[in-house]
Symmetry: C2
Subunit: 352 residues, 2 copies
């Protein structure tokens, strides 16, 4: 076990590199991006015709047509989706990390002794250069202080409140508005075809569960993420409650993704979608099963409409959502389909 | 919200009314101990009229009737069931422990060095007196040796093979035949009423998942149990696989049950069923929520048709499925319903 931090699944090596781009404040204008419930006769309307869209349609047809040799029984239709960079924007830094940094003032208000201590003092200073230089250990301390130590219902309320007001620095929109419309359509298309859709994220399981239902149409029990322990206790009125503990149960990234899938689902997915080296083992595990399987990787190659990054694009590795050349080569070799945001998607967001 | 259950859109009443028109004489068909897919106009046919049956029917009506002040939205209908002693026989010892003891010869054949070592040597001797005296530590060693160290698929195949032949000493039947028919009817009745049914067991999550679908109609992802870690690796042909590791992630008993429910489901159940002190915290946690809640405990008070045991019966504590007087008192105080096997159940097993 690498650490006792429940959010250790986040690739933290330099995830604070984008901190300088963050806004200082956000105004109130809640407008959640709801998962669209409709399916038309032509699935995936936000996708251009091409090999990526075709791979999805072919897979669904092959596995749901009873006359197909690749037909899959309804109960075995499991599809897993990474979140950051696959279902929504992950730049300049992971949304959950923004949340943790934004929570620091409130945490310090409750525990004034933290005010003069290193990472908290730096974050409170608002000095973006200094914040960007925080060590991994410093960041872990911030994550533990902001994600644990409170009853689960209190945490859920805090996340909900933050999501209703915090805005992305580039689009000036709620983070939950920044889901990829083409991927929302894939989720809906698969569900309409009898698939159970799961999120399998390196982010905190409890964090993503707060909004997964209204944003993606995915219930809490179908969110697999980095898992922390809880502690059972009784309130003064005798009512039992669970407190989030700074104890890591499973780091749901890289090899942790198939481990998390086994733990939470108990069977091998038929389809898996990712966008970085953290998803490689999940796609390998999915592809190692018999029959029809669908493995896809989103390539961020659209600097104009979203972002372009990663060595597979010939661009520097920004350490968030790393898509290496080796991953690209493995995709080609193993028949995984790479989705070009630039070429395969007619639009990126529902508001486009 | 839309359910991800692919059959959620099917009108079950229509299906059932259509069944009556079928020419096949259902009574002539063999009646396996499988979860029955049918519900009649009178639910829970193996239950006698009384407060226990009434509590279940009242709860379902109150939470599924849209005009009821206690109506519960479909997505919040979660019901959790302990397994050992609640859904099937747990005497003379837990079925999974029988499996582990039965596996010892095969494990020793693979690792001959174990043959002369303490717990394994004792078990191989067949000396029941000596086996009954094994310490908890000895037993844990046996569990680790028989439940871990192999790929998950190998484990599943071994359990399936054992279940197909091992017989209970009293009834001389497969263990999977020894589920309680009245509880199978509760599972089905709740599912027919839009509830997601979960097993929440102190037994091994991977063990119970092997047969939960065919025996209870519960898919692997709806089995919450004691959880072990897995290790991700690659076979010689490059295919990835998971190995079961002797690493405890969560002991799903007592306080571990609400913890496991939070981890695996992420929301509080509406109904919980148990039979021992290991289920107390799960029932307390369920009861602490708002609105209609159903908490029930099976009391084993039928020595003739099954077993009678536990201090709440005025009988000695046999350490398996302990139902203490304190638990009984808490049930009365908090409005939990105690199910008397003797008085509430017309029959115990499907083969009765």
């Amino acid at each position: 076990m690498k650490s006792d931090d429940p959010s250790a699944g986040i690739d933290r090596r330099t995830l604070i590199s984008g901190l300088a781009a963050l806004p200082v404040a956000a105004s109130l204008l809640p407008r959640p991006a709801l998962a669209q419930g409709s399916s038309s006769s032509a699935p995936l309307p936000s996708w251009n015709d091409g090999p990526a869209r075709q791979a999805i349609v072919d897979f669904v047809r092959a596995t749901t047509d009873r006359s197909s040799p690749k037909f899959v029984a309804a109960e075995d239709r499991i599809a897993c989706f990474d979140q950051d960079g696959t279902l929504w924007v992950e730049k300049p830094i992971y949304t959950q990390v923004v949340y943790c940094l934004d929570r620091v003032p409130a945490v310090v208000a409750q525990k004034p002794a933290l005010k003069s201590r290193a990472p908290f003092k730096t974050i409170l200073s608002g000095n973006r250069e200094a914040i960007a230089k925080l060590s991994l250990h410093d960041l872990e301390e911030v994550l533990a202080a902001t994600l644990t130590g409170m009853p689960v219902e209190v945490f859920q309320a805090e996340v909900n409140k933050w999501l209703a007001s915090a805005k992305h620095p580039r689009w000036k929109r709620l983070y939950t508005d920044l889901t990829f419309q083409p991927m929302q359509e894939v989720l809906q298309y698969l569900r309409d075809s009898g698939y159970k859709t799961y999120i399998v994220t390196g982010g905190g399981q409890d964090f993503v569960r707060v909004y997964a239902q209204r944003v993606y149409g995915i219930p809490p029990e179908q969110v697999v993420g980095t898992m922390g322990g809880t502690k059972f206790g009784y309130a003064k009125d005798g009512k039992p409650f669970l407190t989030k503990e700074p104890k890591l149960l499973l780091d749901d990234d890289h090899a942790g993704k198939p481990q998390g899938i086994h733990l939470m689902i108990g069977r091998r997915p038929r389809a898996a979608f990712g966008n970085s080296v953290g998803d490689r083992e999940m796609l390998e595990y999915t592809g190692a099963g018999d029959g029809a399987r669908l493995m896809m990787l989103v390539l961020h190659d659209d600097a104009q409409r979203e972002y372009a990054y990663g060595p597979a694009n010939g661009l520097p590795d920004s350490k968030v959502g790393t898509f290496t050349q080796a991953l690209y080569d493995e995709a080609r070799k193993d028949g995984w389909t790479v989705i070009s945001m630039k070429n395969d998607w007619k639009r990126i967001f529902a508001f486009d």
